[in-house]
Subunit: 375 residues, 4 copies
Amino acid sequence: MKINSNFDSGNIKVIDCTTASNIQLEINKDTHSDFFQWFHFRLQGAQNQSCKMRILNASEASYPEGYEGYHTAASYDKETWFRVPSTYDGKELVIEHTPEFNSVFYAYFAPYTYEQHLNLVHNAQLSPECELVSIGETVQGRDIDMLIVGEESPEKKKIWMIARQHPGESMAEWFMEGFLGRILDEDDAVSRTLLSKAVFYIVPNMNIDGSILGNLRSNAAGANLNREWAEPKLDYSPEVYHVRNIMDKYGCDLNIDIHGDEALPYNFISSIEGIPSFDDRLKNLLEKFIGSWIASCPDFQDTNGYPKNEPGQANLAICSKHIGERYKCLSLTIEMPFKDNNDLPDPEFGWSPERSILFGESILHPILQVVDQLR
Amino acid sequence: MKINSNFDSGNIKVIDCTTASNIQLEINKDTHSDFFQWFHFRLQGAQNQSCKMRILNASEASYPEGYEGYHTAASYDKETWFRVPSTYDGKELVIEHTPEFNSVFYAYFAPYTYEQHLNLVHNAQLSPECELVSIGETVQGRDIDMLIVGEESPEKKKIWMIARQHPGESMAEWFMEGFLGRILDEDDAVSRTLLSKAVFYIVPNMNIDGSILGNLRSNAAGANLNREWAEPKLDYSPEVYHVRNIMDKYGCDLNIDIHGDEALPYNFISSIEGIPSFDDRLKNLLEKFIGSWIASCPDFQDTNGYPKNEPGQANLAICSKHIGERYKCLSLTIEMPFKDNNDLPDPEFGWSPERSILFGESILHPILQVVDQLR
Amino acid sequence: MKINSNFDSGNIKVIDCTTASNIQLEINKDTHSDFFQWFHFRLQGAQNQSCKMRILNASEASYPEGYEGYHTAASYDKETWFRVPSTYDGKELVIEHTPEFNSVFYAYFAPYTYEQHLNLVHNAQLSPECELVSIGETVQGRDIDMLIVGEESPEKKKIWMIARQHPGESMAEWFMEGFLGRILDEDDAVSRTLLSKAVFYIVPNMNIDGSILGNLRSNAAGANLNREWAEPKLDYSPEVYHVRNIMDKYGCDLNIDIHGDEALPYNFISSIEGIPSFDDRLKNLLEKFIGSWIASCPDFQDTNGYPKNEPGQANLAICSKHIGERYKCLSLTIEMPFKDNNDLPDPEFGWSPERSILFGESILHPILQVVDQLR
Amino acid sequence: MKINSNFDSGNIKVIDCTTASNIQLEINKDTHSDFFQWFHFRLQGAQNQSCKMRILNASEASYPEGYEGYHTAASYDKETWFRVPSTYDGKELVIEHTPEFNSVFYAYFAPYTYEQHLNLVHNAQLSPECELVSIGETVQGRDIDMLIVGEESPEKKKIWMIARQHPGESMAEWFMEGFLGRILDEDDAVSRTLLSKAVFYIVPNMNIDGSILGNLRSNAAGANLNREWAEPKLDYSPEVYHVRNIMDKYGCDLNIDIHGDEALPYNFISSIEGIPSFDDRLKNLLEKFIGSWIASCPDFQDTNGYPKNEPGQANLAICSKHIGERYKCLSLTIEMPFKDNNDLPDPEFGWSPERSILFGESILHPILQVVDQLR
Ligand SMILES: [Ca+2]
Ligand SMILES: [Ca+2]
Ligand SMILES: [Ca+2]
Ligand SMILES: [Ca+2]
């Protein structure tokens, strides 16, 4: 019996792996950072053994409430990710599972690897509507990939969609896979209509290094990218630095930043009520966006979410707030659960890649409702 | 060079097939009926020859205006159906094409065969949400297949969806394939929500005999099923007879009947404005249905369509009118084009199987908007 | 509960279908013929009921010994065909099964429909190596499809492969699907080498009418095509008439005729030992063919099979004998089991479409071994 | 325009990438080693530009003759790898290409990534015939994956198949994918027969670290694994150390080691003629293996290859020689080309993943021929 995490987005520290009924583990901190919560490892040699895996430092994780009511994702083939019963007693996260096969992966959420990312963006560029460009390099020197979807013209709205500033929120890239698959579908009437009105600038993974490193929230330099938008630095937060520069070049009429939330078992939006420029126009746009998404997708709701900022109290270092203020445009943080959507729970799979993909497809509807009023 | 139509939904009469530049054809009348318009045949031995196929009796067809601005569907592999340039001069429909392969199919629209039908309904029954039942036999003794989707309970709305009363309107069954694929998707939030509120009774092909026979509008006895709802007869229109009986057994809160229209290059709804029971409740439901579909699917519109019936002037022998009146419920005829949707034209493929499938998926949205008010 | 067989290759007569435990059936005779053995029907409304289906006239079938040790093929989705326990007591074939779904198909062997046939040949023609031609019409006026694979040139060997003279032997067309898939694979070294040395003339279904009609051995006129090769008649056996004519036009260096055998649970060859022209050359070729196939495919064997004809005693009305004599060439009848290959039994699926496909792929090996000596 | 190689198996050093017509590159040396030859990089921003990429240090590579008559593999989607014209003038390898898309990968051969490896072995373990075990860790601490195929029993032959000791020889893992796909096919008669006679111990990638690092021949410690079999060391060559230990535990009746050869445009075998124990039994086995593979797969040949060792002159540090001597068993090195098989050239794709897969399937034939005589 052995545990390994030496692969894309792997993260675990083995304290003791000698007894199936008492496997002791710890999650490593993010690179140059104190955040930690994401785990991803492979257990071998435990087929048909009743395993109890204890994550000893769970209570010290960044969002220990994220482990309450949470069940761990597992897979035998890296394709189907089901949930296995897990409990959090305020100290440890305990995963109990009797693997049916000799090798099994456990993860905080179904991973989306760099290889999948490269396949995604290169497959997308085959579409005549899509161009793939590198807009700079990450801290560790990887290409930052941006997809431009739609033929550019001045009157078209500029819509930005970015995902995975926080690398452990892998559902954000599953969401992007869904969104891209639909927006590039030449038979889809919504997509065709949107592309006659808007150009999309898409960064499916803002934090490639952190994703590979198995981080929850930090890039390779230890930066929390979603606190870097006020003053991105080329050496510390180049991912934001380059994206913001390109945004300034092309402009922005709508900004959508895709995330996952550790604690709340719902899909929701956090927006720009607290930015100085928030006005009736933006309020109406925001309400229309939210209202039409609620009406069209029961996996989305607006009842549960973060407390809204008081007027003027927004933290302008955060992407959606900063971009909303910078361009006086509608700007949204989308949050998906690590756990499940409690309005439509699925005990077997929880919130999943498949549902994230469909949720990514569903966002075309509210975008279509607001696209004509975005500028 | 030879032409054959001896296969599922084949229909053509060869007058002269000796010269590629002057192939003369006629469309056969529907079984025991004067309707004709649908054609479907296979041309062999004409690879790389410039062929001119003249349908000599086009002007006598049921809807000659259906050939104006129409282009013929063609396929080399029975999977991809593209359009080839066709002209109608008021007398003949002329198809001009230089086939790239030795065998090529031409059809009025991409066919949906009985084999595809059987695959569709049997694949559907594998879903735990779906049951396949035979509710009687057609004139020629084939099973009339009905799918029940969702677990039945009294408080749930009863939603009926039927397609292809007119067998030549094959896009109606492609639509059904799309609808079924989505409603049975266990990850789709719209589908899951709908199935918590409604049960679906689905007849993907009301006119199996006519479909196989290559008819436009009639069943094997010569009946136009969509004029049989007032008094369906077991021997002449058993397909309607059985479905109406089962409807009476289960009840009906919403009825959707899927069709294709030969002439109009748009998707639209024909409804129940002219039935005696049409009232504000039904009017509001209808407007809500139409409005939400327009908003969510640019392939749907309400500007072009049939003239609405004056109050009380509806023909109650027609399915949607009859069922609307019989159950005082919202009841809709959905029409798709044989040609294209002129609001979003696609010169290469016209209105197509792929788009019919997506359109069938899109109808879940307006259903979701009205489901709570259906009774 | 009801039974229907009104579809492609359906065949059953319902005597009594009121009680699940005592369903009484008979097999219909072939069209204009006394042969019968093939059955194919759909049972509905029997989910979770223990069904006993008695085929009352089994002992009068053409090959009652075919029901000894035989188990019936069944499918819920027309894609996966598994076996259900069946017994033959010398009078009746009794099928016992508790269907898991409401609609279930039973067949003597997994069917291969006309629709599959049309898909097969039209998909094949997309290959640059393959041309699809119609060489005449069946009794009922359907196209007889021939595929020419490889670029023709005089020095290349002419290899004929035909299948399904006996329409109930559907495994023969599954075999063809396998063969075609491999010979058209541009990456396969065996295929590429063979196509540099030979041209293939392939008739994947010799008896399309009989296949659709649910016959065991006869075409629509009642002809047993495999007894028609001496004097094929345009009206009675046009399928043989046309193929033999085209053979005369192109020549033949190797002829392979694919069949299924009702009784023997083995794959084997019946050949031309009894034709007048059988000599050492043909004997050596035959032995090499058989030997190399045995060595390369454990699903093939030469221990069990038909008694070999005494010299000069072959029936020259049979395809393989006739063609062997007509062209002094190697000519083979390939037989596959309806039951299973007892050397490698598979209780769950018996001999199956998948295994027939692989067996069709495997025949390229012995062909490659003899191709240089065929003329 | 920019070039990046910071991904799985990437390897290039950019000297100058400012002018499309004069892109200057160098290949980096293997980790802690002087070997170099493998390259793999991504070019962006050069769509529709005529690019000339010069690999300046090609003549100093490990096998400069490997660049003669060689054409570079390229891909826009990481799935289809075609060849682009390349020339070697004795100093530089020059790749000339006008990319059709904005991002394009170039590689010495179509890569097989660690992600693909993990998918391969985990998908394989789902088969009831297959068990996945970790037998130790690489220098960098990754799991060494071994698949055991077939139920173990003493009388069964023990057949070892290992691949990619030299990590740049990615065709070796494509070969393994083909082999595994076939041996696990439950419908394949050859596979079923082999598994009744033998158990397979399969290491699809012997050098995972080196593969990820973009090395040609070395592991992460700089070891050429295929010279380590006499005295493998836990710290320097743990991959060989662990595999040889497990071999000693299970025994070995046939050993097959899969490689690629830079220079020779052929598939061939290098064997054990030079080991002390080489005798008539091994000679006969070897001849039978080679002869039957030639007969069954035209992509294999025995005319071109390495000079055979004189008796007793084999280097027993090499895997196939060492294992042959250690177990007195048939032991083979399989070589595939980086270029093409000149007997069946394919100018568009050269030797390719698809052909490597089919070649891996083809090896079951010669194994079946010798399996009964292996011990
Ligand atoms: Ca976040
Ligand atoms: Ca109609
Ligand atoms: Ca036969
Ligand atoms: Ca090598």
